[in-house]
Symmetry: C3
Subunit: 271 residues, 3 copies
């Protein structure tokens, strides 16, 4: 029922992150900086947050992956993202984008589209509303509530088409995560409802995919295996938590404690 090859890849990638401890350069939002850094450390990666235009090129040249997140964006930060992204592209450092709130305001939608236009981005992770707002074909459309007006199958179809259009991997996370490059599509059934009661779990998923991109050359595989690991950690944490406070703390423990064998046994990935 679940894809054993991808499951094995998940465990292998987790081991590689722990062995190589890749530096993950984040230009991200103020809300999640601390939690993201802790989650990356719990995985075994080495996080760095740096946003000054004067240093992002030098910093990204030391990194194994670049995470761009527009959650509390402003114009200077977008400029720094472009600068860091161009250097990352030149050095073949993989780039992942989290278009937080795209579809909600013009600044967010336009900034995300500009990043996609000017950079080569290997993975974009967001919820359905955010990801589907990025289509070039619907420049002015508000996509707020896309989840409620389309069925899961319709969202999947639109995501597959958009991945082809944008020539990137889209990771649309939700009850089931859908990861597609337009040709191949994976689904991750891991995760727990409690994750929606903690801020920045989506942003954290993005950062973890970033760590996996640093060790896994195939972006579809990096996104799929990273999300399975993160989702399974969420399930383990929920079993120990009595609310969203204890859950967010247990999630860091679960990321740290996860054994490769557990991940092999617990990952629920379908192709």
């Amino acid at each position: 029922m679940y894809n054993q090859d991808m499951t094995n890849k998940a465990a292998a990638n987790l081991r590689l992150v722990r062995e190589r401890k890749p530096l993950v350069h984040n230009i991200t939002n103020y809300v999640v900086m601390n939690y993201t850094a802790n989650a990356l450390l719990a995985c075994g990666a080495a996080p760095v947050m740096a946003h000054a235009a004067e240093e992002v090129e030098e910093m990204v040249s030391l990194a194994g992956a670049l995470v761009l997140n527009i959650g509390t964006l402003s114009i200077p930060w977008i400029e720094a993202m472009i600068k860091a992204g161009k250097r990352a592209n030149a050095l073949h450092v993989p780039v992942i984008l989290d278009p937080v709130g795209a579809g909600a305001t013009a600044l967010r939608t336009d900034s995300a589209k500009r990043l996609i236009e000017e950079l080569s981005i290997q993975v974009i992770r967001g919820n359905a509303s955010e990801v589907l707002s990025l289509s070039r074909e619907r420049p002015g459309s508000r996509t707020k509530g896309v989840d409620s007006v389309h069925t899961v199958d319709q969202v999947a179809q639109m995501a597959v088409a958009l991945a082809g259009e944008l020539k990137t991997v889209l990771a649309v996370t939700g009850v089931v995560d859908l990861i597609t490059d337009g040709k191949q599509t994976c689904r991750v059934m891991n995760g727990h409802e409690m994750m929606s009661h903690v801020t920045g779990t989506g942003c954290t998923a993005t950062a973890i995919i970033g760590a996996f991109l640093a060790v896994e050359p195939h972006p579809l595989t990096a996104a799929t295996t990273g999300l399975a690991y993160f989702g399974l950690a969420g399930e383990k944490a929920a079993a120990k938590a009595s609310g969203p406070g204890t859950f967010q703390i247990a999630l860091l423990d679960a990321l740290y404690e996860m054994k490769e064998e557990e991940l092999k046994a617990g990952a629920r990935i379908q192709l």
Copy 2:
């Protein structure tokens, strides 16, 4: 002894927040962004942090309340607060201000006064020093230590007068929270000493009042019921905590777990 009508209102407002999941737009300080977002999620509200002048008007138009907090203020952020606040006023989105550190530096006192001057603000929440520094009548006075030079009754008298002067609701939090619109005054006896050992509990109280303002048209009631809910959650958390670390986590759990019946039984509100 305690006001049953307000207690019932507290439970009803908590239910409304959970049912309607209002978007609460925060322009707040870096220190508390993560904790505030988590507290709002734990209540059932939907937090968003956005501070760029280019998007605050659009964002606040989607929101049920606007929270302004000057805890790590700088000039561009104050401009964004003004912009967001004016749009909120035009759309009748309620606004709450947390004048963190007013009375300590001229920038803070002056910025808070400017926000009050240029915007219609429904509730201002702070400690006695912060709130009483906002009087137009004492432009240059340092109010640091107001708690120590005035009795509780003097502070209450001054707050009642100031609420009338500013034509807003003042929520002066402390061992006993005092909420007044200059005519009617409520007191909330809930809370726990441990709250003073965690950063941003005041800011979190402000954000929670913001969520209550999104569902309760009467600002005095919104502030009073929000503070009773938050204070009771603090009591519940303290019973489970062994120090300020475990307390801050237990507080998020307590906000999430609070049953309406518990709130009815535990709220200690006096008129």
Copy 3:
């Protein structure tokens, strides 16, 4: 084996922090602001974060110590640090610098050196790479990985020489913390490996030394005793934690709960 005089000083300084509750003014990075504030509160100090050029001079005039941390630096923040630092120097408020990432990018190395050049700084705390990158004699040298190319004894020798050159106290933290003013050198054996799996423990150590500087006139003693207290709290927290999430929370509890007698019994300081 351990220095009893320093151990007694550690307990005495902890008591003074709790009694005097010094205001510690932090101009620090976004990642650790919340955790640092909570750690300072757990110690008994009163944290404030303020970075606007318009208010830093006024804020630092109220403070018992100034903490400068370049972890997410940008040009305007460095200017604010210079401004706050100059006022602090004029008022004899002690200043501590955390040169996060110095040696990794030119902006960080140059900014840290500029702060050292323009200000009188009482303590600089960082890991070996960061601290040793600050030598005036090696302007262009990349010091990344200094830990791996030099022995512990070589690092110690270089730190002693650099402290003399810079005329300040250097606190080089690691498995063993080395604190030196170029003449006298102390070593702190406290701490736990789990501290390296949580973001900002180094920054937190810096802030705690800041609190100790506010009550202890001798910078070498402030740094040494602060690090012993922080390290011992780390050991206590590790005994209760099952991973980095529960550890970071237990660490706040441990800072809060630490008894002076425990610190006297558990501090492992060598001269």
